[in-house]
């Protein structure tokens, strides 16, 4: 995937983000910029600080130091840690999405698929049942869930369907930035492939910016334009995905790339 981002302003600007848990390091001095429509992968082994970084970026965690500037829809730059809680939650309902590894965390398992997709619409004030339902149907179609499953609870869905439902639920309000934490983790390979295909299509079609945390280099290769490699809380290498994967410079990245099992 290639795209020219040079003519636009970035969407997200991260400066010196550091998070300590007490005296233990979560992630240190991370800086980068993300442009609209760009997909950034954060890769690394478990414990390398990927999830800490993602949670800090999405304001789920308050970092120890550093700033994350976000360009709001009105064009103003705001540090997301300075937003009031009301603003932050509003941002999360409208302009942002978060796809969890475990779909049960991102879905309401006790209500139907249609209501799961419709919740964000109702949260921003849609009070027309017919409209909510038709939008939900449309989105279920886009994530390849059969229309006759709209009134079923996600409990009765397979892992892959739950994950696709979670994606629909997040994208229904047309967010500009989506955080994904291991979106394909725990799925078998054929389902993974289908999900990745779907995600790639949606990201391209909607012009979403996305930050994808994964330990699976194949996911990074397929989805992302750029990637950052993390180790022990530090970003040790960053660059275009193809460059990093085909020509890794750091010894650790070389190790990571050569560790992929070949069938």
């Amino acid at each position: 995937m290639s795209q020219d981002f040079s003519h636009q302003d970035p969407l997200l600007r991260v400066e010196g983000l550091t998070k300590y848990y007490g005296s233990r390091l979560g992630c240190a001095d991370v800086s980068f910029e993300l442009w609209p429509g760009e997909v950034l992968a954060i890769v690394g082994e478990s414990g390398s600080g990927k999830t800490t970084l993602l949670n800090s970026l999405s304001a789920t965690l308050e970092p120890t130091s550093g700033k994350t500037m976000y360009r709001m829809r009105d064009g103003q730059w705001r540090n997301i840690y300075d937003l009031s809680e009301a603003e932050r939650r509003f941002l999360f309902r409208t302009d942002w999405g978060f796809v969890h590894q475990d779909a049960a965390m991102g879905l309401r398992m006790g209500v139907s698929a249609g209501a799961n997709v419709g919740e964000r619409l109702m949260a921003v004030g849609d009070r027309n049942y017919g409209h909510i339902r038709s939008t939900a149907l449309d989105w279920l179609g886009r994530v390849e869930i059969a229309a006759d499953r709209i009134d079923d609870q996600p409990r009765s869905f397979s892992g892959g369907m739950r994950q696709r439902l979670q994606i629909a639920r997040n994208l229904v309000t047309g967010p500009r930035l989506v955080f994904m934490d291991e979106p394909t983790g725990g799925l078998d390979v054929s389902v993974q492939a289908r999900l990745l295909d779907l995600l790639r299509g949606l990201v391209g079609e909607l012009g979403l910016a996305a930050i994808v945390v994964t330990h699976d280099l194949a996911v990074a290769r397929l989805l992302s334009h750029r990637m950052m490699v993390m180790k022990d809380g530090h970003v040790i290498e960053a660059g275009l995905t193809d460059r990093v994967l085909d020509d890794p410079r750091e010894p650790y990245t070389q190790l990571l790339v050569s560790s992929i099992l070949q069938v």
């Binding site: 809680e85 009301a86 939650r89 309902r93 309401r108 209500v111 139907s112 249609g114 209501a115 419709g118 919740e119 964000r120 109702m122 949260a123 921003v124 009070r127 027309n128 049942y129 017919g130 909510i132 339902r133 709209i150 009134d151």
Partner: protein
Amino acid sequence: MNAVAQYNFAYLDEQTKRMIRRAILKAIAIPGYQVPFSSREMPMPYGWGTGGVQVTASIIGPDDVLKVIDQGADDTTNAVSIRAFFAKVAQVETTTHTADATIIQTRHRIPEKPLGQGQILVYQVPIPEPLRFLEPRETETRKMHALEEYGLMHVKLYEDIARHGRIATTYAYPVKVEGRYVMDPSPTPKFDNPKMHMSAALQLFGAGREHRIYAVPPYTEVVSLDFEDHPFTIQHFEEPCALCGAEQVYLDEVILDDRGGHMYVCSDTDNCEERRSAGHVGTLGMQEAAE
């Protein structure tokens, strides 16, 4: 001097009453907001109206006239024992007539006769949190109230329509008070929701087990939540009350035999009695008079 220790007036000690009155004042100042209060153990089990009894005990004075209803009836166990309780510990006059009462403690119903200025309706509330079954975390629901995030409430109504083709919630139907807080009107049938809107009476809600008090002051806007294309409606009954012939009132179904015989009677017993003494007769009321 009486050798036997006396109860303080209206059972609760004065400091407790002050504490509850403060909570009530705060609740009136912020319509629909659930004010925490330090609920006391009462000489009755939870679920029998300990919240309502504490509210009543804090506001009742020697000149008040108390009416207690349970499911609209004045003569059921809960109503009789609470009336007897206050007759004993506050020596107040009690009544079954809606118009004569200054304080009406209720479980499940709002009297059919419109309430007037100066009357206070006290509800016994089992679960004050309208979002409880949608979001189990209390910390989260409080935040949602604070930030006015009520989209989830409509998720419940959406589920109703998706499953039943209409909003199937018939009691504890969520309302929005004065355009701000979403409130659970306790398990009253939704039939009574419109009576809360712009009511001349003060409405107080006490949840004893849950330690919450909330209020709807007189002449306050109370709107039942709905969808544009599925508007709020109240229950409709096919036949009038079998005893007094009343229409446009909430009716209870009474099974008469094991062959499907049944009758509908007023849930509000006082309203029914008044109508019958005024000469209104329903289809089965005639027989009763003849016997």
